[in-house]
Amino acid sequence: MCGIVGLFLKDKTLTPQLGVMLTEMLVTMTDRGPDSAGIAIYGDETVDHSKLTVQSDAPDTDFETLAQDLTQALDMRVVLDRKDSHAVLCLPSAQASTARAALQNLRPGLRVMSDGKTIEIYKEVGLPKDVARRFNLASMTGTHGIGHTRMATESAVTTQGAHPFSTGADQCLVHNGSLSNHNNWRRRLVREGMRIDSLNDTEVGAAYVTWRMREGATLGEALESALDDLDGFFTFVVGTRDGFGVVRDPIACKPAVMAETAQYVAFGSEYRALVNLPDIEAARVWEPEPATVYFWSH
């Protein structure tokens, strides 16, 4: 079991409330995944700049002089915004990949959660309400976001094993279910040059989608081919810089409920995750069909 929530805002006036709404949805799904929680949020963008979200088990030491050290090493301006065990590094887009490589030398213990123009990922072990409080998720703003509460099956209960997983710029994926052919796909994707950091099955699913898109597929096409190539149970919710997608395996035993109004499209593993959304009584509520790709974009 795991819990998934997602919110894609069509009405820009709701942007300041995205964090509040998603946090409430996430905490409602605690029963489905009490061991860890995470959220990907698509927020503000600074022209010509990218964001690297990093996590450390020793944030006090790792983050204290990180911005200065990066600035010195790469001769660029870096702004660091720390949130508990995570920090968002805002830096010039042109140097984002150089910075990522430099981080490995400067702070070998640091983990990169995400990189991209707008995405930030925060995830940790613990009850969803505690994770939400540590990062003050409720204060976050953005156009869309995806959250996950984890009950681990395929790999250890660690920060690295928590969802969302990001394997490409501004991309993220969360998963309810378990993949049975992920070891084969991990080997193949690594040969194809994909970066996979954990032994988690979901990260392979994320890397699969990123790889397909790198090879020229649209997100929709990548999710369609995932239906053929990935074996096992899955409800996936995927985020990109301007979009939000959903796909369930053909057996579709992992639950999924969607709601759409003129203001938003929302996803919940269960209806109770959606009950506090504005005007939910008037929303169109439905279950996504098995083996069918759904996608919304701004």
Partner: protein
């Protein structure tokens, strides 16, 4: 009408109140407010009372129902009326996967659509769905009737025993050992009564009947190809 509000009363207390009712109870009309997708609402009832749930429910609403009539004005989550023994459960909206699973008796009515595995392993329950049903419905159904006014998904009636299936619309695909069968007068009569009880004005003549080819009851090497 007695009112139980889940916004102010715990689910456990709501269910305990309803489960304590007997044939002799004077209060027979109940409503439950603010279900907000909660699990296991109105489960294990054992008295001829009417319970209306105003809103949508989560997993296992009205499970193991005996004698009671439970009416959900919204949609129901997975496993609604699971293992129902008798009584009636009516869902005004849609039902999620495995509605009426393993039900032994009574009537389940879904006025919207039902998702996958509707009536899986049904053992005597009657299920009437006004809309469509998803894949693998009535899988290993042993007894009872599944009536679908819309379309049926893939692998309908896979490994079916003696449950009967009636579909008005299209069937995407039949499961192993499920075949179309002749609609006889006795089936039309039974269907007429069931549709009436389910407040459905469909014409029994428009339905087709599906049942078991009875090749997979016991393993027989001559039937290996039927799996």
């Amino acid at each position: 009408m007695q009112t139980l509000d889940l916004a102010s009363t715990s689910l456990r207390d709501v269910n305990a109140t309803l489960q304590a009712l007997t044939d002799a109870s004077n209060a027979t009309q109940w409503e439950i407010l603010n279900p907000r997708g909660a699990h296991a609402i109105a489960v294990g009832l054992d008295a001829p009372v009417d319970v209306t749930v105003r809103g949508s429910t989560g997993y296992y609403c009205a499970g193991m129902n005996k004698h009671a009539t439970v009416h959900v004005t919204g949609s129901a989550g997975p496993g609604v009326a699971e293992n129902m023994m008798s009584g009636t459960v009516v869902i005004d909206g849609d039902a999620s996967q495995y509605a009426g699973a393993t039900g032994r008796g009574g009537l389940l009515v879904v006025k919207g659509n039902a998702a996958s595995r509707c009536g899986i392993s049904m053992k005597g329950i009657d299920i009437v769905v006004h809309g469509n049903i998803g894949h693998m419905s009535a899988f290993m159904g042993q007894a009872g009737n599944l009536v679908v006014c819309g379309d049926a998904g893939d692998a309908l009636g896979d490994s079916l025993y003696e449950a009967r299936i009636f579909v008005r619309g299209a069937v995407k695909g039949l499961g192993a050992d499920c075949i179309e069968k002749e609609m006889r007068a006795e089936h039309l009569d039974m269907l007429r009564v069931l549709l009436q009880r389910a407040e459905c004005d469909a014409n029994p003549e428009d339905f087709r009947r599906y049942g078991s080819a009875r090749k997979l009851y016991n393993f027989d090497i001559d039937n290996a190809a039927a799996y």
